[in-house]
């Protein structure tokens, strides 16, 4: 699926503080990302990178402004419509993988297929197997608990890619991995994003990784600074 372009206008993020007032994470940012391009999002801890990604994924609503993926203004959609949009367009990768324990690697990858199929279609089964092979997972029938952290993140990546999403959002995908595992996971992510033409948003502390992406932005004190 070719990537979707992103256009944010006057995007404001923040949360109410106890005892009144509001903590602003993003104060009216407007930015664009062309379809199929890749943006690295950096910034100090607590600057709101994760909150921004959640808003872009439709998991949380911004305090104001618009987030347009293609023609669709995501925050204006209802909760069910945002679920549907994520299912059809988005692949999410988390710092802590968030795989489902008690299931095998293959089952974890096939999980998104079961959201709207009683039985995963043949094409998705083949794709799941191919993605796991590509991710270097030797035994897809192994329970996830028995896998190393590096393997788990590659399984999580395969899960995000199952439905060939137009948008990939990765929140610190290498932060909880050792250097070698992190590099392997990052390499795989960048490769598949480029091959599929998906629009990639990647939050990271790893400046070397950020440097490999064509667009970079830093979130600091409520402002988003683009650093080309």
């Amino acid at each position: 699926m070719p990537g979707l372009p992103l256009a944010c206008r006057d995007l404001r993020l923040g949360f109410a503080l106890k005892g009144g007032g509001e903590h602003r994470l993003l104060d009216g940012a407007s930015f664009d990302l062309p379809a199929g391009s890749a943006l690295a999002l950096t910034g100090p801890s607590g600057s709101g990178k994760t909150s921004l990604l959640h808003a872009l994924a439709g998991l949380a609503l911004p305090a104001g402004g618009s987030i347009r993926w293609g023609e669709l203004n995501l925050p204006a959609q209802g909760e069910a419509a945002r679920d549907t949009w994520r299912r059809g367009n988005l692949g999410l990768v988390f710092q802590d993988f968030f795989l489902i324990g008690g299931m095998t690697a293959l089952e974890n990858v096939l999980l998104p297929a079961w959201f709207d199929h009683a039985r995963a279609p043949e094409a998705l089964r083949d794709r799941a197997a191919a993605l796991l092979a590509r991710a270097g997972i030797q035994s897809p029938a192994t329970r996830i608990e028995a896998m190393s952290r590096g393997e788990r993140q590659r399984v999580a990546l395969a899960r995000a890619l199952l439905r060939a999403p137009a948008v990939l959002i990765a929140d610190e995908p290498t932060a909880s991995l050792d250097a070698a595992s992190g590099a392997a996971a990052a390499e795989l992510l960048l490769q598949v994003a480029q091959e599929s033409g998906a629009t990639l948003l990647l939050a990271t502390h790893d400046l070397a990784l950020a440097a490999r992406l064509p667009h970079r932005a830093t979130l600091v004190e409520g402002r988003l600074e683009q650093t080309q």
Partner: protein, 407 residues
């Protein structure tokens, strides 16, 4: 939009991850269900067995005294010293035109652990209403018809020991050689202690105890009328010609040294007393079932609370809320379904074992047959649980996904 989905892998993974807890919860549900079902089954089995026991005993006539005691003695063959009904009343009864047939019930001897009871031939078939299981009715002294559970075959002989009546006079007991009997018939099962009894002609029981046989000659056919000074008997079972005659007979033999009553009425009033106890028991069973289900529900809600991250992740990667609802509900349904089904079988088995043990001890058969009521109870427990499971499922539904994703 399509409603197709497959939440089973999520439910299965959750069941797997907490196998121990899940098994414990299933066991709790099973025990709660078994308790409710077992108590219900036992209660109904006892009630039905007791009602059956009075079947055939339309009207009992005995000497004035306790109706309850006479009922227990005549129907459950409980050995007890009861006052004897004078032979004169027996003579009046056998001449009464409202009586279809009658049979004295006379106790005395035992054969092994089996009571030997003297009756009239009509009693064996309830006046022709109930055929024998095999063989024929006794036609002469020295012949016997045995209860269904007596271990004697047709044609086998037995010799009763002097039992109850003379146990104190002759502590060692002696065999009544002259009262040896040959089995000629077997009664159908009745579910009462009568299944263990050896039935002899009442004339034999009288003669063994030196009371004559009530007939003018040795050749007279067995049974009424007993014309020559019949001895007193503990009870006479009377089959009236009709319902109106039954009430008239009861009225007629309520004085002059006699007491006539319907044993079914005595049993009903006995069960009415037991009814309050049953309600307490059923109430306690229902309460503990409810408590166990509440505990199961709370532990399940607790299990879900620690899984809020998993639900958030599912939402984040595109699961519709109904998928979460279905997964959580399915998981609870498995626990409840397996528990309730196992509990149904466990309750049935438990009630059957208890009934067997109790029944053997009392020589009463308690039939345990699950009915729609029990299946309904299991289904009600299941339905209540599934309905209750919607609450935590809805909780999972309502959580905003971003919340669960923060570390």
């Amino acid at each position: 939009m399509t409603l197709a989905m497959n939440p089973w892998p999520i439910a299965r993974a959750a069941l797997r991850r907490r196998r121990g807890t899940v098994l414990a919860l299933m066991l709790l549900v099973a025990l709660a269900t078994a308790l409710g079902i077992g108590v219900g089954l036992m209660e109904r089995g006892l009630r039905r067995g007791a009602a059956q026991a009075a079947d055939g005993f339309d009207l009992l006539v005995g000497a004035p005294g306790s109706q309850t005691q006479l009922t227990l003695t005549a129907i459950y063959l409980q050995p007890d010293v009861v006052p004897l009904l004078p032979g004169a009343v027996l003579q009046r009864l056998q001449a009464d035109t409202d009586v279809a047939w009658l049979s004295p019930i006379g106790f005395g001897d035992r054969w092994g652990s089996h009571p030997v009871v003297g009756v009239a031939p009509a009693f064996l078939t309830l006046g022709g209403r109930r055929p024998l299981a095999e063989g024929r009715a006794f036609a002469a002294e020295g012949e016997a018809v045995v209860g269904h559970a007596v271990p004697l075959k047709l044609g086998e002989r037995g010799v009763p020991q002097h039992g109850l009546a003379h146990a104190h006079a002759e502590p060692h007991g002696h065999e009544h050689e002259e009262a040896g009997f040959t089995v000629v018939g077997r009664m159908p099962p009745t579910g009462t202690p009568w299944d263990w009894a050896v039935l002899l002609p009442i004339e034999t029981v009288w003669e063994v105890h030196g009371l004559g046989n009530g007939h003018a000659s040795e050749e007279a056919p067995l049974g009424p009328p007993w014309t020559v000074d019949p001895p007193g008997v503990p009870a006479v079972m009377v089959a009236p010609r009709g319902i109106a005659q039954a009430y008239q007979l009861r009225q007629r033999y309520r004085s002059d040294g006699a007491m006539a009553f319907f044993p079914a009425e005595v049993l009903v009033s006995l069960f009415r007393i037991g009814g309050d106890l049953r309600m307490v028991l059923s109430g306690m069973a229902a309460a503990s079932t409810g408590l166990v289900l509440a505990a199961v529900f709370l532990s399940f809600a607790g299990l879900l609370a620690v899984r809020r991250q998993e639900f958030a992740v599912l939402r984040a990667i595109g699961a519709p809320r109904r998928f979460l609802l279905a997964a959580v509900w399915l998981e609870m349904a498995v626990i409840l379904g397996v528990g309730a089904a196992a509990g149904f079988l466990l309750g049935w088995l438990g009630a059957a074992l208890t009934a067997g043990t109790l029944g053997r001890a009392a020589r009463v058969s308690i039939t345990i047959a699950p009915s729609l009521a029990e299946a309904g109870l299991a289904a009600a427990i299941l339905a209540a649980g599934l309905l209750a499971a919607l609450l935590p499922a809805l909780w999972a539904w309502r959580r905003p996904p971003a919340e669960g994703l923060q570390g």
